[in-house]
Symmetry: C2
Subunit: 698 residues, 2 copies
């Protein structure tokens, strides 16, 4: 089904509707129009890391963990699997007459906002802090969700357009002030890339951008439908149009908000404000043509999905059993393996299951299901916590002792007990163990979305980069016992792990690894697989918050690895493996880098080759080298490989203050390594990135 | 350590205390007296079905499920294991300086109240509705907890003394009016039996009994310390002494409550009212001797535990690894197997894992951890939900599909969805399956203790015997699909399962089977083990609530299997197996019954032989035969065994209106069967209990 044909069908169908009927179709919970054979349809569905909120589905690692894989192919497969499951669920439940929320084919994923500030609670939903990585991964995700069939498998959605990254507490009234340069260099590239990829939908953000609410921004709409040629439909974030009059104050009443949003090109209202469409028409504030235009766009999507008309979709036959089929569960397992990042290892890891004696597994996230799934999650039919994963992996070979150690974020577990009521047990377990695995971190009650989380004190954002105090006390107590100790962090954002880095033997970051993630974590701890994930965000030290711009300041100056001038705890792109891989050769021109890589170690591993570019002289260049290419590669012990990585033309541009891509100074340095070319990576890994100069005509 | 010697040491030690020091020792959180080398000690610990609230511990089936085993030996082993774990935990954490609540050796278990009304939320904590069974099981539990060593392993506690069984909402002000006959015949026998067993502690109930608050009842104390010769210590239920002046109104102020409780013989205050002891002394309302008396009793217990003085205890060496050791986990597994009750089977069970195709596991309790553990639970290091148990059991042999089906007790799972938002998925799963296992029931948020549960509408009690409406709708929807269906109930009390009994192929009751219970459930479903649990309570139909006495009426008339004249859905003592066992011979005299039993089926099984007695003519006899003996027995396929079951002398008495045990008419009928001798059991099992007349001299 071509867009042209779908649009024609949509125009024909919408042409038969009354104004009232059309208006109703612009609500996210569009009612049936029985006389036209149109079933009810709820546009709201989610697939951030697997189908969310709509029942049983394969659970993949949270988006930030998917980013840490640096693996476009696997990400596309994952999104494709989620799309298949959405179809299978839709097929099954719509046959049961269920047309409810979270059961449709229009997925409001991925989230391609930039993880600008480490406190942002929704940063876990993103692909991290780098615009290049975010764009590449976002495109892969859209390809997977939308498929390559004659109809869309599902429709993807680029959200939240644009400049949306906290604070959550302010989002309904916030005005993000962002320069043209920062927009073009950092905040917009991923959206542009997703439009290029053919994303069927874009969601406007809650906040204002330079004064205009994002769901009705002439600037953003001009880019989107003008410069970029976006032809799909535009949806508001949920109840964001109500914010126009209730919080932003850019309009005075619902009808005005309708007028502003609809005339700006916001086709679909997640929320209830478009119930005022007819009233706005009566007042002459909008025309029926405004409504028709959006209705046609929406029905174009429905025809592209093959859910209207007689032709159907090639996906109509996907059976219910597609959901959580073995192939999808295997993808989730592979993703969990690739997403974990080894941050420190003094040689304790991998543990030997044949001689591990007694293992003490301690900590509030050790047996937590919530810590497996982050936010925007579905329901899995099997959760494997870290504790269970370890128990299953070692079987009868080791005794596993467990202590919760402390509450996730409270001074005691039992209300009637004294503070720290599990610390004695944790200490006792550590003393009775040969090795300790201490599982700390957060879950969606501590970081997430405004209104969703339990940490109402900061509406889902973190106040700082420290672990909750209960966990800091537990870490202290367990480290004091002095046993060989691995600290495992399950969280979706940067946490200051200085104490663990200094005093634990190993530190592993599991993100929120998906419902079965404990199995992958155990495989990594015991060396069945070598860690290979890389940080898609900078792990700052907590003190750095004093140096970073205010949370409300959207300037990139001093933020993210491209602009941060301090020393991070763990830098962007960083992650260890059990191999000993190095880049041993690098040549490049403006189109291609040729790289030789070698695993000089005794263990097979995957690695992520990373290429960074720096314009050595342009005043518009970020101070630090910028990611311009990456490639996940398998290297057996002792193996050497030659890789070619294409370099995009835009890599050799810089963005001036007017937001224009310009050639820069022409004197570039290209770096290749298994991490960034920064001093901290060098210190942590003992290896320097190779570099080579490249000249381009300015 | 003899009680005499312990008491001597206690008197000596208490004799060295000031009045202030003594008064402090009557609080449950007794402070240290450093000058006397007495460490702080918190008396409050729980071990209802494994150590509770104090961290990691082996999780056994909830007490009501332990009762369904009808297995004194196993119950004693379980209590002994819990006692060992309490010692191991105490040893480890007290070395860490932790003397906090839930870490001590004075266990406030078991709960030997009679499960009088099926709505009572705490009925799950009891051994059911029969005084004989409760007494026998309670004794076994006390033996296990207290051990046979030179020191007490832990101290057990007979609670809640007496006549305590709801309504929870009223408990702080309620006056239970109970006749002498009902007290002697029903409410007191278990307490008496536990005192005979040497229980070290008794806890007073919240309510009043015939006008007197149970923690200061001259009637109850007279029985306890007078008639029965109880020598241990008496503890108030928590904040129950405050209820004297705040709710019961039997005193006007805290000092009066202190006077009443202490003078009545309540030694230990769970709560804070005994902070007024010194004030009451100043007012002359109590003497120092009153305080001394209780302090001596309390320190006697501490010496009996071997926690004071130089001698120590033989349990001091129990290492931390005792907790959840393989032997204890095996006990829990065995208990879960024995506790489940098969209520219906048209031949669908056991399922054949070799040919089970696709199994649909559906329902809000299918993957619930909370539904494994009931209330008063510890933390397990491994939870095996029913879903996981089934997945693990079938492995690669079958595909397992899962749907939550509905919320436990809400009309939708997702707040933004329409009602019944998982029913379509459940129906789709059922349609895609060859067999459906539907897991329904309750958890501690729906039945439990006042103040603890989520169902504030009835303070922990059930309003009726129906499943929550969401689950009734799910049951209806799934049954309508028409696949072979097993209904599995996880709950701690009687639920009207009429719809399942009529229309499902099999009905299994799992109670709250303990953290690893899903494994046992799967073994039963797939026939690795035959079900053998028996109901320790009557499962009434919901309509019966209209016939039963009011919830607040403590008269037995018309209540429990001994007095209920209607037809229950499932009677007391009932439970099917995969064998085909029958009692084939019965002879008896007044001291011994000789019974021949035979398994005529093709599968090995355990069974519970039950003996019931009826006085055929006494006006004081309950209308129905009364349990007077039981024996769990293994019967291989085809096996026949002869068993001797002793009959206690008291079995041949009845209780007159003055509460005296009298001989009765002397014309008795003894019944023997694998269930009760009632018509409903006969209808459900197709077998009649054998009977034999016994004459006794009136």
């Amino acid at each position: 089904m071509t867009r042209e044909r779908a649009k024609q069908l949509a125009e024909e169908l919408v042409g038969r509707m009354t104004a009232e009927e059309k208006a109703g179709q612009l609500r996210f919970d569009a009612p049936a129009i029985e006389r036209l054979g149109i079933p009810a349809y709820n546009w709201w569905n989610e697939a951030l890391h697997g189908l969310a909120r709509g029942g049983t589905a394969t659970s993949f690692p949270q988006a930030i963990g998917l980013a840490a894989m640096f693996d476009e192919e696997l990400l596309e497969q994952i999104a494709s699997a989620a799309g298949d499951e959405a179809r299978a669920k839709y097929n099954a439940v719509s046959r049961e007459g269920d047309r409810d929320i979270y059961h449709g084919l229009t997925m409001w994923s991925p989230n391609v906002n930039i993880f600008r500030d480490p406190r942002w609670g929704r940063g876990q939903e993103t692909y991290g802090e780098d615009p290049f990585l975010t764009a590449r991964l976002g495109r892969a995700f859209v390809r997977g969700l939308q498929g390559k069939g004659g109809t869309l498998k599902t429709s993807a959605c680029a959200k939240h357009f644009a400049g949306h990254s906290g604070p959550e507490a302010l989002r309904h009234s916030f005005d993000a002030q962002i320069s043209e340069k920062d927009l073009e260099e950092t905040y917009l590239p991923a959206f542009r890339a997703l439009v290029d990829e053919g994303v069927e939908s874009v969601m406007g953000a809650y906040n204002r951008l330079n004064g205009e609410p994002c769901c009705a921004s002439s600037y953003l709409m001009g880019k989107l439908r003008g410069d970029w040629g976006f032809e799909g439909h535009f949806v508001s974030d949920c109840w964001a149009i109500r914010d126009f009059h209730e919080s932003h104050g850019v309009t005075a009443a619902p009808a005005e908000s309708v007028q502003l949003a609809l005339r700006s090109g916001c086709d679909l209202n997640c929320g209830c404000t478009y119930q005022h469409i007819l009233h706005a028409m009566e007042l002459g504030m909008i025309d029926e043509a405004d409504v028709t235009r959006s209705a046609v766009r929406l029905f174009t999507t429905r025809f592209l999905l093959g859910t209207l008309g007689d032709e159907g979709s090639e996906y109509d036959a996907l059976p219910y059993e597609t959901i959580e089929c073995p192939a999808h569960l295997a993808l989730a397992q592979k993703a969990a393996r690739e997403s974990c990042v080894l941050l420190k290892n003094n040689g304790l890891l991998p543990l030997d299951p044949a001689s591990c004696g007694t293992i003490g597994v301690i900590g509030p996230n050790a047996d937590s299901r919530a810590a497996l799934v982050g936010n925007y999650h579905g329901t899995a039919s099997r959760y494997v916590t870290v504790l269970q994963g370890i128990q299953d992996f070692v079987g009868e070979r080791c005794r596993v002792l467990y202590s919760q150690g402390c509450a996730l974020c409270a001074d005691r577990v039992e209300p009637l007990a004294l503070p720290d009521d599990r610390l004695a047990e944790a200490s006792a377990v550590a003393k009775a163990s040969d090795t300790v695995i201490l599982v700390l971190g957060l879950d969606e009650t501590l970081e997430g979305e405004e209104g969703d989380t339990g940490n109402s004190y900061s509406s889902g954002d973190k106040e700082d980069l420290l672990l909750p105090e209960s966990q800091r006390r537990l870490l202290e107590r367990v480290l004091a016992v002095g046993k060989p100790t691995v600290v495992l962090l399950l969280a979706g954002s940067a946490i200051d792990l200085s104490a663990a880095q200094e005093r634990a033997d190993a530190v592993l970051l599991g993100w929120y690894p998906g419902a079965g993630g404990g199995r992958a974590v155990a495989e990594l701890l015991f060396g069945a697989v070598s860690p290979s994930g890389k940080l898609p965000v900078t792990f700052y030290r907590n003190e750095a918050l004093a140096e970073l711009p205010a949370f409300t300041d959207y300037s990139l100056t001093g933020r993210t690895y491209r602009y941060y001038q301090g020393e991070p705890l763990y830098p962007f792109g960083y992650g260890l493996s059990y191999g000993a891989c190095a880049v041993t050769g690098l040549t490049a021109d403006r189109t291609l880098a040729r790289v030789t890589v070698r695993n000089g170690g005794a263990r097979d591993t995957e690695e992520v080759l990373q290429l960074y570019l720096r314009d050595e002289a342009s005043p518009f260049a970020p101070p630090n080298p910028v990611l311009c290419g990456f490639r996940r590669v398998f290297l057996a012990a002792g193996e050497e490989k030659s890789l070619s990585v294409p370099l995009g033309e835009q890599a050799f541009t810089v963005v001036n203050d007017a937001g224009e891509h310009v050639p820069g100074s022409g004197r570039w340095t290209l770096y290749a390594g298994f991490g960034g070319p920064d001093a901290r990576t060098e210190a942590l890994t003992g290896r320097k990135a190779l570099s080579v100069p490249i000249r381009s005509t300015p």
